[in-house]
Point group: C2
Chain length 266, copies 2
């Protein structure tokens, strides 16, 4: 049994969609969350900048006595192999778990992937899906700003037009499974399901959370409680207004405050 909390980070608050899943599968675990709201978004930046920011995020989480890290950011997960060798704690990203879930889900062995520009450029999902699967990836750079501005509801001509542009190549491709490779995208589930009916949608943040839960369970590192886990939140920009945006991604009303971190000093 290991009472230490689990560390979770994302470029912003999208990673809370993975925290929601973690709270469901491991409701007794304590969680320390960091969202790099002072430098969000990561998805349009270069690999070197993403890795530098992610290493600071990890060092901040390591300043707590945590037992493992969930990288609840699709963009960081796609370059994780480039710096994971230097990490001292068990770390789980979202790419391999989501790819594994897609391999199980697909019947026609055609899998689509949507993600940030950095995620698509990395080709990480195509490698993780491995042989015998035909894969097609599409960068969706406007999805994050649209979601963050509340444009994710059915009937909104802006998100529906942008989503149709990004997703229509998948209709021709004929995939039966689509990986939502960014932790903001679960909020677009209704829009995507309307445009790609019958396609199984894989939530990469949820897949990452389940994978970390298995890792801890298999290693005998769960805390032993089955309820009552607490989450503490840290962000790198002004925490006021945190509760409102966090509630959106957690899918429940959050009354907790977040603490401000000067992440550039880590």
């Amino acid at each position: 049994m290991d009472e230490r909390p689990i560390g979770v980070f994302d470029s912003g608050l999208g990673g809370l969609t993975a925290v929601r899943e973690l709270m469901q599968v491991l409701p007794g675990e304590n969680i320390v969350y960091f969202g790099d709201t002072g430098r969000v978004p990561y998805g349009g930046r270069s690999d070197d900048t993403i890795i530098r920011y992610a290493q600071q995020d990890v060092r901040f989480l390591e300043s707590f006595d945590i037992k493992a890290i969930l990288v609840a950011c699709g963009t960081v997960s796609s370059v994780l192999h480039r710096f994971s060798g230097s990490l001292r704690l068990p770390v789980t990203g979202v790419v391999e778990p989501a790819a594994a879930a897609a391999r199980v889900a697909t019947k026609n062995r055609r899998v689509g992937i949507i993600g940030t520009a950095a995620t698509v450029r990395s080709k990480c999902y195509i490698q993780a899906l491995g042989g015998g699967i035909e894969a097609m990836a599409q960068a969706c750079p406007l999805f994050v700003p649209l979601v963050e501005n509340g444009r994710f509801k059915l009937g909104d001509v802006v998100i529906e037009t942008v989503a149709r542009e990004y997703l229509s190549p998948f209709i021709e491709f004929g995939c039966d499974t689509l990986i939502l490779g960014c932790t903001h995208y679960p909020l677009l589930r209704d829009i995507i399901a309307e445009l790609l009916p019958g396609v199984t949608l894989i939530d990469s943040g949820a897949a990452g959370a389940k994978s970390l839960a298995s890792l801890l369970r298999d290693g005998g590192s769960l805390c032993g409680r089955s309820s009552g886990g607490k989450v503490e939140y840290h962000v790198s920009d002004d925490p006021s207004g945190f509760g409102r945006l966090a509630s959106l991604f957690l899918g429940t009303c959050v009354n907790a405050d977040a603490r401000k971190v000067d992440i550039e000093t880590y």
Copy 2:
């Protein structure tokens, strides 16, 4: 006569619309440009974070032997009064020059302002416009990501829908003048002009550039050349692909390279 270059900075590359104007009014001056592409955009961040980033940007420019700074960023300009007292060089933002241009342009004494969330929150334009002018400001948080994704052309349903939402309150307000309070917005001039016919559009970056030119001329600090000025470019993320995006904002083909700066160390 002062041969030293002029320093110009922005959160990203939008500030190049001000550099374009500076090159037209002072074609002999050398310019050092910094774009904080590793942390763009600033417009949705808190004042404290914007000021901290802007102070690093200024310190980087001060590491060159420059004679003055143009803040070619609407967001930073709107909080400039909060740290301008600590600056050792003459600094010009875009707010007061654009407000002065709007005061001259308006006939019916109703002026609209569009800008980032931070710019609108600061109420800087309403203060700078002063008495006798009725002003209305509207935050346009999706304009920057849409422009950066190339969505600024007439006939694009996405930008036209978003622009109609943001701008229609100005039709009812009845302003004859609109301040484009962010240096990305000149690329939306055609879209805005279509939605607000007959309204005079004030380019804040161009107004700032003209104001700095007057300041240098009045102070006897021009370089004395009437052509042949050079621009050197610095950015905080990977400079590859710089020329393509820079060409968009400069309105001419840019073959120059940009140098990478580790801005967090300033």
